[in-house]
Symmetry: C2
Subunit: 257 residues, 2 copies
Amino acid sequence: MERKNRPLILISNDDGVNAKGIRELIETLRDVAELVVMAPDGPRSGAACAITSEYPVRPTLLVEEEGLKIYRCNGMPVDCVKLAMYMLGKRPDLVIGGINHGDNSSVNVHYSGTMGVVLEGCIKGIPSIGFSLCDHAADADFQPMLPFVRRIVVETLEKGLPRGVCLNVNAPSSKSYQGVRVCRQAKGDWSNEWECCQHPRGGEYYWLTGRYDTEEPQSEDTDYWALKHGFIAITPIQVDMTAYAVMDELNNWNLDI
Amino acid sequence: MERKNRPLILISNDDGVNAKGIRELIETLRDVAELVVMAPDGPRSGAACAITSEYPVRPTLLVEEEGLKIYRCNGMPVDCVKLAMYMLGKRPDLVIGGINHGDNSSVNVHYSGTMGVVLEGCIKGIPSIGFSLCDHAADADFQPMLPFVRRIVVETLEKGLPRGVCLNVNAPSSKSYQGVRVCRQAKGDWSNEWECCQHPRGGEYYWLTGRYDTEEPQSEDTDYWALKHGFIAITPIQVDMTAYAVMDELNNWNLDI
């Protein structure tokens, strides 16, 4: 693509600026667009849409090359997007979160710092995509999903997304894929969430852990099902969380004082 | 209510266990239900649905009285709900976040730690409500909204909520109210989000600040409008963030490799 017409993509994540996933994403997209990366200085897994209000945040420029700038930041993933948009002085054509080390499908969209990046881009009216690989390992193999990442990015740059809608893309850990499926968010929850340990000076402390299960393993239209069957799952996600279907019922409640 | 048939309500917040808002909520609901409070040991404003995976969390019992237990916890609001549910050994009848010091309406539902509490309760299948007063002050006057809080809690205990739906209740800072309105989440965003300062040893650091504006100030069905016109806004919120309306369009994209 000609230099001056190249799109601008803002990238962040929740695994930190040195994670393998974001580094491979950068390499994959360098010839597609001008890239600005603002990513946390360390792990922020499970940061959701958290923002930093109790202390100031500080960006540090790490890399400045033709078509690529990389900053690290001591804030949260959402802070990274907000701060980069402020410093850029122009609107990016796309915001990308990832590639995350670990599954952000189903209800995990709510806990994911990667999807925090994406929702923030979406709230600001920029087409936004989160990419996640269902493998937490630091040396996870992102290669098989990279052609799909590139295809989805190019297609999103061309087609755009409706205002208030972003994409949550999850890939199973696999050498090859059945293809791509457009899905809905599966219903489910975590159980056995705490590992209890004895504190050496008395009392107990707890590590967050647990197991995710869907309530609807047979539903073929969910992201859960797609991932279990070797597909890359694209779940469109919206900023508007209003439960429109229950508004009439609530209007019949007795809420007078 | 007779002792043994009293409902059980789990309470948390994002302003910390010592905030005025949670203390007034507890006093208001003591005769309605048995209360278990697990709240952060300090401010977690803007914690969203963040969870703590990098360090362990630890609860400390602060108060144990007839019908009331209060714990503080070093984790995030969502951790508080997860840990309390684990320690309780039985399911609460209701999960409540708040009363928050500050507005959680509109797009702020995504950043709010109070709504993190509520979404976690909702994911776990418990009817859940977030209460917020549009006043950030530590000594904000919660008295005028308390009768409405009580009414909404009693009605929710009686009627229940559909699975996957919770309530985001916001009250304007006011001596009196026009009443209660069932609303949808207003569209909007923050601008002028950063205050830049010079670091004494060189470089710049940034405080998150900003101003919220809606894109649709005239829409009378939004929480934004209700709050501006002296109503308490009840916005039903759903865990399922799927943008169903765009699934057909995405199925027409060229995503083959």
